[in-house]
Amino acid sequence: MLDDFFTRALVAGVGVAVMAGPLGCFVIWRRMAYFGDTLAHAALLGVALSLLLEIDSTLAVFLSACAISALLLTWRRTSAIPSDALLGLLSHSALALGLVALAFMTWVRVDLTGLLFGDILSVTRTDIAVVYGGGAAVLAILALIWRRLFASTVNRELAEAEGMRPDTVELIFTMLLAAVIAIAIKIVGVLLITALLIIPAATARRFATGPEQMALAASIIGASAVVGGLYGSLQWDTPSGPSIVVAALLLFLASFGVPGPKRRGVGQ
């Protein structure tokens, strides 16, 4: 069944979307979209590093994203630079540094388009194993820290006062985010990974009555976007990564046509 490249793409893409859903919810709840973007851009630096040191690229991307997030967390605490300026600085510097570093390595041929926009159709069985193994680990850890992380997201001081240790769970969360980016880079690429995190989550918000339902709905919506986007790209011969994001966007727009669950004070 996995002999067909298209089937492999579907299986891997759905796996990434299921994993990205719950994390994407936290990304939008915590207003970390730009943070995710920065980590993703830093991934390019990780790819360059992996080629230079001849180590596994997923591992290198994970490590570089972890390093960038550690840098951000400490810098944010000590620096007077506003955090969006800081993110912008790091995000684009990391992207530029990665591109320059890759250009220097004339001895390797790098598929830059694949890195930036994803190359889901070249997914191998090993990639699928990484997506499902890594994804299961990410979701299992997220489930373990769920209550603490959610409490810290709603109100950090309250969580801290009642012994939820927000510092620890927030650090774990950024590492999970780094892991998702490392795993998903092959599927949608550096530039589009944030879209796969936040668009399904934003769509899910329309139907959700609670955080857990929203996380589940985000996974389902993300998986649908992957399936729809891949079939669309097959049908109209469009690039697969961007097609998935466009499918997610269409689902988001369509969600406005569907009435949400009834709740008190619908007037927002």
């Binding site: 709603v154 801290e160 006062a161 009555t209 609670g210 008190r264 004070g265």
Partner: protein
Amino acid sequence: MDSAENAPSAPILPTTLSESAAAQVIAGADGIEEAATLLREPLLSLQGAGLKQAGRWSVRGVNLSVAPGEIVTLIGPNGSGKSSTAKMALGVVNPDEGEVWRRPGLKVGYAPQAVAIDWTLPLTVARFMTLTSGLSSPEIDAALTRVGAESLRRAELRTLSGGEFQRVLLARAIARKPDLLVLDEPVQGVDFHGQNALYTLIRRIRDELGCGVLMISHDLHVVMAATDKVLCLNGHVCCEGAPKAVAESVEYKQLFGDLATPAMALYEHHHDHTHLPDGTVRRAE
């Protein structure tokens, strides 16, 4: 409302009969309060605690302790260090000087001043109740009923009015049966009669749970009536003691000026927050 309930000098009600009896044996009927405090180790204490913010002291030299069954209230004008003191007591921040001690394993129920809930976050009252501890459905109902908010169980948190929100915050804090209840401006956004009712409720909950209560407030006289001990802050502890003694002290009158006279009691002049168009509250501190 029963008038004894509002008397400023209402003694602490010991949590168990045996403690009560012991207290009476030791101290006689009129010394229950002191004896009960002596019998119990405090839940937390601050010794000469101070906190720096952006290089300047927001509060210094605070000595404070909260015993089980005791209601301690921090009052003071805007920027006087009430919140800083509470944060040190809670362990949210570490003091820059002095020491903070909390009883090991102390279970805290905290009702913060403002909880801004974003549109992106779908959160019902029932889910909010289980934010930091797993509660059964009857436990959630019991806590909501206790504060008169049982009808709000399925409501989305964002749609609550100020008064409803305060009740839900209180319900969530008491639902986990804490040893210490910390309430930051618990009557904010509540009208005067509602305030009285809420303070009475807080005292009743204290009696039921036997927990210590640390309260922060900037309205003066109503809160004075509902408390056992008052700490009046203005960058340091200006005056402290039983509400009546504090209200009559020179330092208190200097600090609050005209506000210290009962005729002005209904006014809240110390605004330390603004109300945003969407109804959320942004604090200045």
